[in-house]
Each structure stands twice: as structure tokens, then as C-alpha cells.
């Protein structure tokens, strides 16, 4: 049997690796109609429907579909959009990252999930270094609380529930993030 990467790791690092992959899966799933299928469990997140390119627009592109739920934090927040962008860019910058030219806006959920993918991946790499690990857990906790979780909860609340995979994504992300925060609360 093929050996799973990280299977011989300490539990915390193994967990960090798995969490990193899950964040990546969610980031892909919110970025593209057929993204994240290689990672996310199909019993929770069904595979893309045949009309995925339409359903994704219906679900998440408020520029096009009146009933869509925005994936941008600015649309769910009372904060000034550029003020929000600045804080997020500062987060990414603080951890040595810069958005690519083709990236979504900094408040897009896929960008925020990708940032969490990075922090958790870094936690996996530095899990044996207590100070570094604590720094990373602290950053994750705060980023989740300030940005990603409120955004995910608002999306869950506003997203239509008749969109199959995309409704499931909107439902399951806050469920996962709740696990994450629960875990971070006991770290």
C-alpha cells in the first residue's frame, strides 16, 4: 500500500498538513466551478454539476446574477472597501506574500483561504518549533476570527440553498472553520 505523505509525522504536524490541503481545496472550489474536487470529500461537497459554469455564476457572481451571493468580504462588511483591502494586503505582506497580477481581489474568499493554506502549510513545516508554531496558530486564529469566519458565515446565510455543490460549499466551509476555531481555541 502506498504510504500517505506525512503519515509518520507527529499528530500536530500531520494535522497541519491535512488542514493545509483542505484550505487549498476550499480555495480552489471557490475560485473555479470545478475546483477542489481532488481534495474535498464528495459526500460533503458534491462534484460539479454538468452546468457547473452556469451554476457557479448563479451562486457566486453578484456582478452577473441578481440572486448571487458575493464571495468578497467587502460585500458582507460595513467597513470601507479600500480600508479592508489595506488590512488584508498588510496581512499577506507581513507573512512575506504578494498577490499575483492575476489574483482575485484581496478580500475574495479564495484568496483568504489560500492565505490560510499557506499559514497551515508553514505550521506543518515548523510544527516542531514551538515558538514558530505558536506564532502561526495565533495568526490563524486571528485571521479566521477577523476575516474568514465572518465572511464564510455571511456567505452561508446568504447563499441560495438550491445550488447543489455550491450551496454545499457555502454550508460546509463555516462548519470546517468552526472546527478550526475550536481547535485553535484549545491549542
Amino acid at each position: 500500500m502506498k504510504r500517505q505523505p506525512g503519515s509518520d509525522l507527529p499528530e500536530t504536524r500531520q494535522a497541519a498538513l491535512e488542514r493545509s490541503v483542505i484550505y487549498r481545496g476550499f480555495a480552489d472550489a471557490f475560485r473555479r466551478p470545478d475546483g477542489g474536487c481532488d481534495v474535498l470529500d464528495e459526500t460533503l461537497i458534491p462534484p460539479p454539476p454538468p452546468n457547473a459554469r452556469k451554476a457557479f455564476v448563479d451562486a457566486f457572481d453578484e456582478a452577473i446574477s441578481k440572486s448571487a451571493c458575493s464571495l468578497h468580504e467587502a460585500a458582507h462588511s460595513t467597513r470601507d472597501q479600500m480600508d479592508l483591502f489595506e488590512e488584508l494586503v498588510r496581512w499577506y505582506d507581513h507573512f512575506g506574500l504578494r498577490r499575483t497580477d492575476t489574483a482575485e481581489l484581496p478580500d475574495h474568499i479564495s484568496v483568504q483561504l489560500e492565505f490560510m493554506h499557506f499559514l497551515t502549510h508553514q505550521e506543518y513545516l515548523h510544527g516542531d518549533e514551538p515558538e514558530a508554531a505558536e506564532t502561526l496558530r495565533s495568526a490563524q486564529r486571528e485571521f479566521l476570527s477577523r476575516h474568514l469566519m465572518p465572511l464564510a458565515q455571511s456567505i452561508e446565510e446568504k447563499c441560495r440553498d438550491d445550488l447543489g455543490r455550491y450551496s454545499a460549499l457555502a454550508d460546509q466551509l463555516p462548519a470546517y472553520l468552526a472546527l478550526e476555531l475550536e481547535r485553535r481555541g484549545t491549542d
Binding site: D38, K54, Q81, M82, F85, G96, R99, T135, L136, A139
Partner: protein
Amino acid sequence: MTAALSRRSFLKAGALGAAGLAMPDFVARTASSLEALAATPPPEFTSFLDVYRKQWTWDKTVRGTHMINCWYQAHCAFDVYVRDGLVFREEQAAEYQQLRPELPDMNPRGCQKGCCFSHRMYEPTRLKYPIRRVGERGSGQWERVTWEEALDDIADSFLDVVTEEGTDRVIWDLGPDINIGAANAAQARFAQLTHSICLDSNSSNGDGHRGAFETFGNIYMERGIEDYFYSDVILVWGANPVYTSIPNAHFFTEARYNGTDVVVISPDYSASAIKADLWVPVKPGTDAALALTIAHLIVEGDHVDKAFVSEQTDLPLLVRQDTGAFLTEADLDGGDEESFVMVDAAGGFHIAERKTLDLDGVEPDLDATLDVTLDDGTQVAVRTVYSLLKERLATYTPEAASEMCGTAPGLIRRLADMVINARALSNVAGSSMNKYFHGNLTERAMILIWVLLGQMGKPGSGYSAFGFLANDGWEDYVSGLRIPERMAFGTELGLDLLWDLAKGESSEIFFKKMATTNFTDPGSTLPVWSSSALFWHVHGGIVDLAEDAKKWIPGLKQPVREAINSALHKNWIPLQPAPDREPRILFHYCANPIRSVRGSQKLLEVLWPKLVKTVVIDFRMTTTAQHADYVLPAAAWYETTDHKWVTPLVPYNHVTNKAVEPLGESQNDFWIITMLAKHIQKRAQERGITSIDSHLGKEIVLDNLYEDMTMDGAYSEHDVDKAAGAILEYSSNLSHVSWEEQKEKGFARYSQIGLSPLSIGNAGELKEDEPFIPLTYHTKDKQPYPTQTRRIQFYLDHPVYLEYDEYLPRFKAPPQMGGDYPLTMTGGHTRWSVHGVWQDSRHMQRLNRGQPYMVISAEDAAERGISDGDWMRCFNDVGEFTVRSKVSPAARPGATIMWHAWENYHFPGRKGPRDVSPSPLNPVELAGDHPHLKFGMLEGQPGTFDRDTRIEIERLSDEEAARL
């Protein structure tokens, strides 16, 4: 739910096989790779406040502007601040030169819309990838597609249509925001290479300044904004600059500090009226009565500048009383049919020179009335235009006019005294008058005031009409040829033009004539143009709304449909595609006709079913985009490099630099249109299609379209910057400053008006240190005007003008468009948006009520039991819409105001003011076969009108309002 889940519930079996960093949205800023960065210990972090410890710095600052038609205030240079691939803010770049120490300067320039564009471009309404309709048109069912899919499909439809039905079935619906820069050059080059049709929307937008066109043969006349400082009376008439021309409005205030009187003439107590020295209220659409009364008082008081009108106008020319036509040299002795006749006090006849206005000592008798013997021996009575005019004006006493326009006689006299005694009289131009059915008559009457007083061509004086100033290298780029090469030599047109040159015609007349050929047969090197208003009426079915026009318009001689058909049949007006050739593909570029065209509900009903494809290029989901087959996401104005036309008010070419990459998959217009050519070429090659003949007989090479489009690769889809620079390099009026310098500074002062047909009519010298004064080539240098008589022309002897008694300016009561209803629905540009672009901007919505409203007077509201903010039904015989009320003491009783440019989807039921605006074409504007009444670029075409619309309003019950 979480109790039943664990982390591993979310992971697919085997998912960890793909473990590793995968981050398409990020790169490492502080390491050589993401992997290296991740391997580095994380920075200190205790709370989110840590991320704020570093000083914020910008990655770069570039100069930018907004490629939108904000017209009289265009444009403003901004510093655009960039960090992390995002534009965070912009700030006015206050570096415009002060022309003279005593003159106010332009700094800083910019309005609240420009100052928040960085926010606007990132709002949730921004389009980020191509979409294709998957349900019925307008059903809101879309799917995301790739550029490859979209362009291949559009290319196939294009090839199907042009090979099976002709190139004129493909239409470019061009809105007001075309830039006469590289983006628009790509579109125009595509159109000229494929002989698809470009719609000129200027008159359809109600901006045609038909009265100026009828009088000057030209609408292009506007001054430098600083020139208002030299005026001692400014008439703000048909404009509201304090509301809509924000960067320019301070010049009027500063002129007041200099002793200038600012007079606002308007139905409502407008934002500009509040800042004026005198407000003259007038009933909507009746301004001609006011203007003619002032003209009457000028004549009655012997204040006419007789030397000026004798030299510059048709007032001394003789008119035959038997036919109503000008007396010509041919009438007298068989000479030239185009030469007109004056008579001096001694009875000597003189031919009015066509190549100069200089009278060479002749003193024509302005009041002459006499009998003349014609070449065939018959005797006819003739009179000067001036004598006819005086007779007509005599009926416009202040008391009589007051009955027509509602202005008190004493106030009319006070205004006339100010005007007559003004050392330098100017006006602030807008386009309100063009949006009235009889707006042409109003503008002719207004011009009469300035001309009778000789208030033209001097500092601080003169009539302004249509503002436009453009580079003159654009057509060179579009055609790929320089001007001498693209004169269509060898054709009838080319010979005709050469003959004009040989005859010594002025360059203004020459280039304007060249522009008129764009509507008939532009030869092989320029695009084919068509009147947008005519196109929508004939092909779009809007003419159907005018079936009852005879009930609405007193004196209408024939149904509007018949008038259009007759004008087309006589070849008075060109229409492409011809009425029997249905359009098949519509590209909407900088255009949003379902929102903007009066009566646009007919377009969806009549035109849309004929279309194989309708494609919108835009950065937001407009009303028209909602009814399209494809929407192609365009770059925003800080995401591309280009430049934009302006007006002589602010004679600086303005540049926007690409500050950041286009968001998502959006692309700049130049790329989109060049790539369309590439896909057409590819699909033509794959389908074995080589070339076809266009509807005008030109060979259209389809399997080499991309090579032709890019001039064999010299300007590929990636070369918008290079193309923009080439256009300026080709320009006689902008090549004095290098493209690199213009990009760095963000603007450059034009060196001269140039030769573009979109500017040459300004006819004056643009100097480095003086405000521009238009028409001095005529008033000072005595060059002829591009009219039938080569003079400022108040008398029009065209049969239609004679039939409608519009051969001279007169007042006609506003028609009751839409039926006999008590309220007039006027309008105007909003303060909070330019067209529809900012209508749902969060920042702008916070500065106004955030949704459409109709301004009504307190009296009209009380009569109908309407309170501020109530929902109202607005209706007439044509349609209805629902809107909230804004009860205002500034509104005139009997007149309502609907500020412009809300999208259909901002109204309940998607119906708005255009649903009650039938806007029939005016038959006199269809006149043709005339030396100067013919289609030109942005001028001479029939207009559409919404300001005469009559409505009734009623309050919705609480139950009805609750159901909205």
C-alpha cells in the same frame, strides 16, 4: 452539525498525495519562492495590530484619467497610487499651467466621480471573465466561458453573416465614451477593414446642436474655460455647470469676483441658479420666445452691429418672394447658382463672395425691399433676410413673449438691457436645448442674440455650442495611411475633393466635406458610419411609437414614418444598412442603448429578434448587457494605457497609464477587438473562406484580417501603448510632446485645433498663453463658413423649412409628446454619475438618495396628495413607470425632473423614463439635398427628444407600494 464532523470528514481519500503548496494567487515577496518562504520561520505575530507596524508605502504612482465622456468638463489628470497590484486611491494632479497671471488656473481638476474611481473599479459589480447567455435573452441565465470559446463563436457568427448576408449586417453601436485613442482606433480599423457599420450616436443622445448646425454649418465651437474671466455677462442657458461640470464651475465664481454678471435661464431654480446674479425662470421648451424677444429689443433699439452682420451673415442677402429661395447670380444673369446677391443703398447688386467674407468696401442695404428683373425677363419682389427677420421679430414684444414663455415682461427687459449693454457676452453651453423637439429653433434664436450684437470672436464674447477637441492622427492610424493617401483618389469622391482644393476652399470646408462621405461611401480606408437615431427608428422599430405624433405635434404635415420613408426615398438621408437589410450582429461598445435610447422598449421587441448575436464590451453589467448573448469584460481605465479627446475648454490631451493589470480575465478594448480579428482570421482559414465583397463593393479579406488589423504585426493585441503613441505621433496638434512625456505628465496642451473633422470647426488659433476663442478664422481672418451661403445663415430656403415655416428662427409651442397630460418631464445629467457608470457606486449612492426619483414641485405634489419619498406611477399614452417622488421648492410647477442614467433594473418592473418617451424624429431634421444640411461627423443628423414628454403622476397606495 460540527459535532458529527471531523477534519478528516472533509478530506477525500488520497488527497494528501497532492500535499504541497499550490498558490496561484500569491508569490513570495521576501524569498526566492513560496517553498523557500514557507521554510523560513514566520515573523513575529502576537495580534493583528502587528500587521500595521510597518509604514505604508506605495509601489508606484502613475498618472491616470477616466476614459469617459464627461464632455464639457473633460478631463482631469490624477495621481494613481498603486500597492500590491491594486489601485488604492487617486488624487488630483494640480500641475496645469496658469495661462496668465491675472487669470484663474485649473488647479486642482477633478470631481467626486473621478476621485472614487479606484473604489468603483473594485466594487462587486465588476465583470471579471467572459460570459455567454444560456437562457432566453434577458433571462439572466449565464455561464462563464473562456476567451477562446467566446471569440471563436462570435467569429463564426460573424463569418456566417458577412458571407451569407453582407458586411453591413454587422453593426458597431458606439456610445458616447469612444475615446478617439487606441482603443477606439482598433474598433474603427476593424470596421473599415470589414466594412461593418459604425453608429454615430451623438444626435441620438440629444447632443447634436442642430440649431448651431443649421446656422453655422458646424456645431464645433467652444472657448477656453479661462476666457469666461473676460466676459462681463455670462448666460448659463441650457446648462447646469455647477451641478454637472464640477472642475470648471469655479471659473464662473471667479469671473463674478472680477465683476462678471452670471445669469441663469432655466425652468427650475437649479444648482447653478443658486450661484447666479440673476435667475430668469422660463417654461420648459419655450426659450425661443425669450431669445427672439431679446433679439427684437436689440433691433428695435438700433443696437444691431450692422458692419458685423453685413460681413458675417446672410442677413444682407436677397430672398425671392415668389419662391422663398435665395436670389442667385444665376437668377439675374445666368451665372453661378451657388452665388448669392446683396444690394447696396444705391441699388447696385453685389455677389456675396464664397471664398472670403471680406466685403471689400461694399456696404449692403440690410433693409432692402425691391423688385428685380430676372434673366428670363420676369420681375419678382425680393427682400433681404434682415427685413424678413425684423418683420418676424416684431411680434415678439416682452408682453407677448411672456404669454409664451412665462417670464415676466419686466424681467425680460432687464435681461435684454444686460445683454445689450454687455461689453463681452458669453454663454455656457450644454445640450438641454437639443433634447426638445423644437430645440433647433431655440438654438437658432439664441445664436441670433450674439450675432446681432456682433458678440463673436473676441475675448469673453461669443456663442458656444458643441465642445470637442481631438487629435488628428487617429484617422491616419485607422486607415493605415496618411491624409493625402486616403483621399480616395481616382474615385468620383476623390476628384470632387480635389476640385474643392483647386477652387481654394478652406481646409475647414474641405475636411468637413470629407467627413460627410463617411456616411455614404468612405472609399477603402475609413469606416462606414450611419446615424444612430435613424438606425434605431427604422431598424429598431422606435418609429412605431410615433403613430400618434400628429396628435401631439401641432402642424405636423405628415406622419413621422412617412417623413422618414420619403427622406430615405429621395436620398436626402443615408441609412446603412438599408431599410430592407436587417441587422444581424450588434457590438455594443461604450454603449448601453437599452438604458439610454428613448423608447428603447421597442428595440427588444423589434430589433432583437432579428439579431444572430449581440455582444457587449464593458466592465460592468449594463442593462444592454443583460439582454446580450455575450458580455466581454473590459479593463477599467487604470488598467490600460490610452488617451482621450477633450474640448477647447480644457485643451489638454489626457492620458491614462496602465497602473495595474486588468482584474481577473478582463482585457483592454484594443486587445479584445484585435483578438476578435485574430479569431475571425483563424476560423476563416479553417473554414476555407478567403475574401468577399462588401455591400459597397470593397474586397474584404477575411483570411488575413488579423495581419491587416495589426499592420502585419506592427500593432498586435499587446500593443495598445504603442498604438496610442503612434496616433499622437501622426497628429499635427499633439506630436510636439513625446508620448513618453505625455504619459509621465498625464496631459499635454494641444498646439493647435488641428485637422480632425471633430475639431476643425472651432476655427481659431490655439495659443500657448491665451484662452482659446473659437471662430476667429471667420470673424478675424474672414474665412467663409461651411454653409450654403458661406455665411452665418439664419435663412434656410430648403422646401421643408419653408413648408414648416422654419425658414427663419421662430417660436413654436412645445408639443405634447405622449399625449395631453398636465406635466412636462424634463431631465438633465445627474451630479452623481457620468452616464450609468457610477449610478450604483456605493460612494455616490451615499451622496444622494441612492435610487431613482422624480423631482416635482410642492404645488404639484400637494394637488395630488403626494409626499416626499412616496412611490408614484408616471404615465402617458405611450407607457408608464414607477418611481419615488422628491418634492422640491426648486422645481417649477407643471415641470418635473428625472435625472439621467439610471439603469432599467433600478426601477420596479425595469421600466423607466424612456418607456414614456416616444421621441419622434423632427421632419425638418430629415431635410437633405442641400449644400450644408447633410450628415457629418457628430452633426447634421436627426436628433431624439425627451424633454417635451408629457405625463401625469399619481401616488401609489400603500398596498401597491408594498407590492413593489
